[in-house]
Symmetry: C7
Subunit: 96 residues, 7 copies
Amino acid sequence: MKIRPLHDRVVVRRMEEERKTASGIIIPDSATEKPDRGEVLAAGPGKLADNGERAPLQVKVGDKVLFGKYAGTTVKIDGEELLIMREDDLLAVVEG
Amino acid sequence: MKIRPLHDRVVVRRMEEERKTASGIIIPDSATEKPDRGEVLAAGPGKLADNGERAPLQVKVGDKVLFGKYAGTTVKIDGEELLIMREDDLLAVVEG
Amino acid sequence: MKIRPLHDRVVVRRMEEERKTASGIIIPDSATEKPDRGEVLAAGPGKLADNGERAPLQVKVGDKVLFGKYAGTTVKIDGEELLIMREDDLLAVVEG
Amino acid sequence: MKIRPLHDRVVVRRMEEERKTASGIIIPDSATEKPDRGEVLAAGPGKLADNGERAPLQVKVGDKVLFGKYAGTTVKIDGEELLIMREDDLLAVVEG
Amino acid sequence: MKIRPLHDRVVVRRMEEERKTASGIIIPDSATEKPDRGEVLAAGPGKLADNGERAPLQVKVGDKVLFGKYAGTTVKIDGEELLIMREDDLLAVVEG
Amino acid sequence: MKIRPLHDRVVVRRMEEERKTASGIIIPDSATEKPDRGEVLAAGPGKLADNGERAPLQVKVGDKVLFGKYAGTTVKIDGEELLIMREDDLLAVVEG
Amino acid sequence: MKIRPLHDRVVVRRMEEERKTASGIIIPDSATEKPDRGEVLAAGPGKLADNGERAPLQVKVGDKVLFGKYAGTTVKIDGEELLIMREDDLLAVVEG
């Protein structure tokens, strides 16, 4: 199933993070706050500015992004939980 | 009865989803949260931008769409419950 | 008495609906939620856009319209209760 | 004393209405909700649009108008209570 | 000490009003609500519109004005309590 | 340490005021409300208007200004408590 | 790992401050309010203005900045806690 986000929205898959305590114990994700980073799976065409033109988004498919903990709406696609949020909820792109 | 949504509104028929538990038991819809997807039955001409021009909507009749759980107003047309919402309440179009 | 709504307002007469239960008993209107549809009796010239021009309304006198349950202000004209609301409170025009 | 309302404001004198019950008893005004109609005594030059031009008001001195029950600020001029409100608080002009 | 209000602000001196009861007893001001009128002592150059131009105010020094009861900020200048408010808090100019 | 306020912000040093009671007793500042005046130590370049141009501020370094009691954020620079606020929090310039 | 903040956002590393009491005792940071200053590590391209153009930020990498105590979102990058905030949360640049 293919998703086409509208306007300035993006589809993001959360990147689960292994959290290790100092002594190396892996903390299962649920015990920690929801990770605030993920990968862009699809990006909309951008929001319409007042002058009727569309400003392209600053992120593209494949970008690793940081976002606010409570950003976005959860949807289930082919059994997988994904996030749909506005580009404005994205804080930064993480490279390398 | 034909509905002509105004400005940036769309008419959506909720797509009931068969929810199966792991053991295959079909969960009647009422037991689960209202499905957050549906089909566009009618689309308005778009919202008037500040410059007085109308920006056409990004969705069209027949599109399968995702929307926020509490989006839209319920209306009864020819005995059927339909949703009328703004395009901005739509998250994405789902294809395939 | 003639009413001339201002800017983007419209005057609407609620259309009472006969609600019948399955067994054909007519439910008096008061027992059900207020009907959310009506007929446009008068329409304003439209709202002034930022560029100083007036965008004409999308509805005209005689249109059957759907609106939110709590939309509009009730006024009494020649003893009849009518609703005055903004076009933005109207969801759609119903034809046929 | 002459009042010159500013920008998009208007001065309105409430029109007291004789309310009669079915059996013809006149209900003193205080017993009913404040009447929601009145006469325009003075009108401002209109609000400044973003492009720096002033859009003239749609009402003029002498118009009979309908307004929301709680609209406007009460001021006492020469011992008479008048209402000053924005044109946007006016719902419609009543003619005839 | 001279005050130069900024942008769309004005400096107003409240005009104390002798309030007399029907039988002529003068009500000291404190016993009644704060008077809602005063005289303009200084007026700013006006607010910057979106197009970068300044729209001059509609009031000038010496105008008698009506304003909302709770409008403005009280400041003490040379021992006298004055009000600084935005022009938008002013309802009308009173002449004669 | 030099401070360069951003956009439409200004840096203000509160002007402590000797408050004397009628009998000449000097009230230490803390006992009275925080003074609402001060001196501009630094001013930003102004806010970006919608048309992308910067509108210069109406105040400059050295101006004595009046501001709302709770305006601004307190910062400590070289051990001194200063206020940083937006120009819009300033009410007027006091001269003489 | 390199961070590319979006639009008008900046990445800031908080500058821990040695706080000494009068008698020279160093107050561990946690005992005092969070410091409100830091260094800009990365800056976005600026926000899109209504006319579709991007207004460059007023701060650059390496600037020492003051910001509101509760500004920004904390993110962990390579084990270090950094702040991502909008330029509008920055109060001033501190030089020297």
